[in-house]
Amino acid sequence: MYNFEYLNPTSLEEVSEVLAHSDGETVLLAGGTDLLDRLKEHLLRPRQVVNLKNVRELYTIERNEGLTIGALVTIADLAADAYIQENYPALSQAARSIATPQIRNMGTVGGNLAQRPRCWYFRGVEYRCLKKGGRKCYAVEGLNKYHAIMGGGPCYIVHPSDLAPVLIAYGARVTISGANGTREIPLEQFFQLPAKDLKKENVLNENEMITRITLPPQPENTYSLYLKFKELESHDFAVVSVAVVLHTRKKRITDASLVLGGVAPIPWKIPEAGALLKGKELTEPAIQAVAEQSVKGSDPLPQNGYKVHLTRNLVRRALTEIQQQL
């Protein structure tokens, strides 16, 4: 690890102050479960590391019409929150599916959304890949079993967050603040494809941070589910995951949201799912149609064709599970 300056602001204002003077060599530290690994692997060489953990105002889970979750809320606290279990059960499921108890105790919501990809070429210092300013994506001709089957190119990472697909499915918005003030955008628009910007996975600028996530209230008769497929149950990232939120009235679907994890460089929304299901009952043919739609346009690499089958099957399974609850 290289030496750096370590800052300990205690309020959002102080953080903004620091960020205002950042010169692209400042990084934010939350739980450190991702950042410390990258520092130890010499993947980045910041001049300053800004510890956010003393900013108390970022720790709250606040019930209002919907729910506001501070960026520093840990994944463990999220998983344990009774109100979330009751009202946003898929979010609890996603939180519980993440990593190990130790990492859930340290890792935060903000860090989970802003974490960098797990692609083994990105994480290995020996590969100067596109994301690190190099000239090729090593996954294309290399080992790509876990890489993107949709939305890839020229870089084929998948977004590693389990919270993101669920939050997007529930219609979450993210609040971003920085030296130039505060903005709030749909979380869906927070993430961006490599085709747009190779160097980062989201729209955060150098001098900005996530302060909170806001979830809209869910109407009565909302059904939601997060289904994550991992190779190792003990701790693993998603190979493919499915977040579904259905709003229903008298068994008919009034609104549907389907977001996939593990398949694309960003949480991958299937916008057609809404149109396919709206006004209908969740029947076998409807489920089948959505499952097929979810893999339409997929473009697998030589070693990850199985993820297409996997995605289709998981979508079918997720919807079938909900069908049984209806």
Partner: protein, 703 residues
């Protein structure tokens, strides 16, 4: 020397008792090589080659020296300057803190002349593949095993089957990486090493540094696993010794996880093309195998085929193949899991073709009388009769299946020496230059000595893991217990006789009348005298009773048999295999401690599941670097993947002590593969059996 007493008369051996160093380990007081510290100690690290094949033109270390805290640097670590795999040692550095090392390693300016390389078995076998050694073909000359006459055997066969199986490279991955803490005491070198062979390392390092044996001392009190990869002296130890000399300070050099994955051994992969013939009555008549395996730049990638079953006519040709990868090292039952994965599936395919139950087919071709009994015991306990006859007959996407496999090993004993001291206050010390690689050797030594002297375990102080103690061999090949236990027994018996003589004189009875039991020394017969152990030892006054003993024939034996039954669940939507249950029958002679014995069987099975379903070294074809040299992406079975395991110890105490560490890992992958076939009706013929392969196989079957 006398035989073991009958099991009924044993007070300790054959029972369950906890490890004598268990509390020390779980409370963190046990000091591993990683924990060794000496005043002024520096931290060392090795720079590995960045490329899989290259000439080192120049190594410039000037920038390294400019970093504050750097105290020693070596740039002449590699003997020839021609590197053949990523991670091969080329330079080293020692510094005052471990944090400095990462940066220091990045400051070496190395000029390489890159050369072409080859990484995978089947590619390295092609004529046009770059050669790993310029003057040698990548494909080594065959080693041939021939029994009977295969042509005739196949002529007698009524059914002939051919198939091909592949297994992956697996890494030993001990939790404590390889490494040493060394310091010079004048011209003597003291080495704390994480090793399976304190004496072997002393001999090896003395040779490598051209030093007399008595000036090198190797110590290993506790070690965090090795699985065969820590049997030999390490280059890292030589490097640490040289850094320590240069800096005139102690140096601790433990490999980081990446170098651990790349440079400290592995289980070679395999490609097995098999042809097997049988008669309609189920008798196998012939077996032909052509196998290949790569041990990287090393040799020893043999596949032990045919394994377990008796076949009269056999021909097996094996070729080791060189690739640009670190050399293989022994790994829990070398050559056997690869063979078993192929063999057990071949057996099931043949049984199916013949319309026989897989168990019946095995009973017919298994000439081992012990295993004949074990098959029946295991089948009964497992409920083999509940296995579905038609594969893939479960409704719904999640399907269950059952399979089985067999194990074999040759874990005999060999020369080990030991000594014992008994003091006048009754305290007892045993010294033996063996080591405890986590199997419980320290505990077993206390148990054997206590049993012999009629004492309790806690009354014996055991000293092991030091080359100053009487010589014992490496802890490998499941030989430790059958080597060490007899030596300890003989030593303790000698001590008993010596003490017996003193007491006989004291009571004026014949030495034969003296009995050691339950903490007392008793004169049997008419004299009816009795002293507590402590009082008896008091007769030594200021003297210390010291005896030496060694291993002898008749207290241990070799040759074990075992079998395993597996039940799995396969999710045909996701391709995931979940092992639900394993029943293992293991044969193990005289059991020293039931707990550590069961623990060896459990461990072998868990590692076998990991081999079957998860572990795989993956090289990037473009750079020759390993993409998964860490515990995130090199996947290893975890607690959630560990099924219910039932261990049945089939002990035959009259055979003496036999090792048990290796055989239980052999049949697990084959038993699981057979269970998967039974569940889904498709065979997975390559390891690890990951979801992508299962989904692909299911898709192919549909097409």
């Amino acid at each position: 020397m006398s035989k073991w007493k009958p099991l009924e008369k044993m007070k300790i051996l054959g029972k369950k008792y906890p490890r004598i160093d268990g509390a020390e380990k779980v409370t963190g007081r046990a000091r591993y090589t990683y924990d060794q510290f000496k005043e002024g100690m520096l931290y060392g690290a090795i720079l590995g080659s960045r490329y899989p094949a290259a000439k080192i033109v120049k190594i410039d270390d000037s920038m390294v020296w400019s970093l504050p805290g750097v105290k020693a640097v070596l740039t002449d670590v590699h003997p020839t300057g021609r590197v053949r795999y990523v991670g091969e040692e080329i330079a080293a550095v020692a510094a005052t803190t471990p944090e400095i090392l990462g940066e220091a390693l990045r400051l070496f300016r190395v000029e390489y002349e890159k050369l072409p390389f080859t990484l995978y078995l089947e590619e390295a076998m092609k004529d046009e593949a770059p050669r790993v050694f310029p003057r040698r073909s990548n494909v080594n000359k065959p080693r041939i095993r021939e029994e009977g006459n295969v042509e005739q055997g196949f002529a007698q066969a009524e059914v002939v089957l051919e198939d091909t199986f592949r297994t992956q490279v697996q890494i030993q991955t001990p939790l404590e990486s390889h490494g040493s803490m060394v310091y010079w005491d004048g011209d003597e070198l003291i080495i704390y090493d994480s090793t399976q062979a304190v004496h072997g390392v002393r001999e090896g390092i003395a040779k490598m540094l051209d030093m007399p044996l008595h000036k090198v001392r190797v110590i290993c009190h506790h070690m965090g696993g090795g699985f065969g990869s820590k049997l030999q002296p390490g280059i890292y130890t030589v490097i640490a010794a040289r850094l320590a000399k240069q800096a005139n300070a102690p140096v601790r050099l433990m490999l980081d996880r990446q170098l651990e994955f790349l440079t400290t051994g592995n289980r070679p992969d395999s490609l097995s093309r098999i042809k097997m013939g049988a008669k309609r009555d189920g008798t196998i008549t012939a077996f032909f195998a052509k196998t290949y395996g790569t041990a990287g730049i090393g040799n020893g990638a043999g596949v032990r085929l045919p394994i377990v079953y008796s076949i009269p006519n056999v021909r097996h040709e094996h070729h080791d193949v060189y690739t640009n990868a670190g050399a293989a090292r022994p790994f829990r039952a070398p050559g056997c899991p690869q063979a078993s994965f192929a063999m057990e599936q071949m057996m099931d395919e043949m049984a199916e073709k013949l319309g026989m139950d897989p168990l019946q087919f095995r009973l017919k071709n298994d000439s081992n009388p012990t295993r004949q009994k074990e098959w029946m015991i295991g089948a009964e306990r497992f409920g083999w009769h509940r296995r579905k006859v038609t594969p893939a007959s479960d409704p719904g996407p999640i399907k269950r299946g059952m399979g089985l496999g067999a194990s074999i090993w040759w874990p005999g004993g060999r020369g080990t020496k030991a000594s014992m001291k008994i003091y006048s206050d009754g305290s007892v010390e045993v010294f033996c230059g063996t080591q405890d690689l986590g199997t419980g050797t320290r505990t077993h030594i206390a148990a054997v000595a206590a049993e012999e002297l009629g004492l309790e375990l806690k009354q014996i102080k055991v000293h092991i893991g030091d080359s100053n103690y009487p010589r014992s061999g490496a802890s490998g090949g499941s030989t430790t217990s059958p080597s060490v236990a007899p030596a300890i027994k003989n030593t303790a018996e000698k001590a008993r006789q010596e003490l017996g003589k003193i007491l006989a004189e004291h009571w004026n009875v014949s030495p034969e009348a003296i009995i050691f039991s339950d903490g007392y020394v008793i004169a049997s017969g008419e004299a009816k005298q009795r002293l507590s152990w402590k009082e008896a030892c008091g007769l030594l006054e200021t003297d210390v009773l010291e005896v030496h003993g060694e291993w002898s024939e008749g207290l241990s034996s070799s040759g074990v048999a075992g079998c395993q039954f597996a039940e799995v669940e396969v999710d045909t939507d996701t391709g995931k295999i979940r092992v639900l249950r394993i029943v293992a029958v293991a044969d193990c002679g005289l059991i020293l401690d039931r707990l550590t014995t069961e623990s060896q069987v459990n461990g072998g099975i868990i590692q076998g599941i990991s081999y079957a379903l998860f572990e795989e070294r993956l090289f990037d074809p473009q750079t020759g670097a390993m993409v998964n040299p860490n515990f995130e992406t090199y996947k290893i079975v975890g607690t959630m993947e560990t099924p219910e395991i039932e261990v049945i110890l089939f002990d035959e105490p009259e055979r003496g002590v036999i090792g048990i560490g290796e055989p239980p890992t052999i049949p697990t992958s084959g038993a699981i593969a057979n269970a998967v076939y039974n569940a889904i009706g498709v065979r997975i013929k390559s390891l690890p059996m990951t979801p992508d392969k299962v989904l692909q196989a299911l898709a192919n079957q549909k097409a």
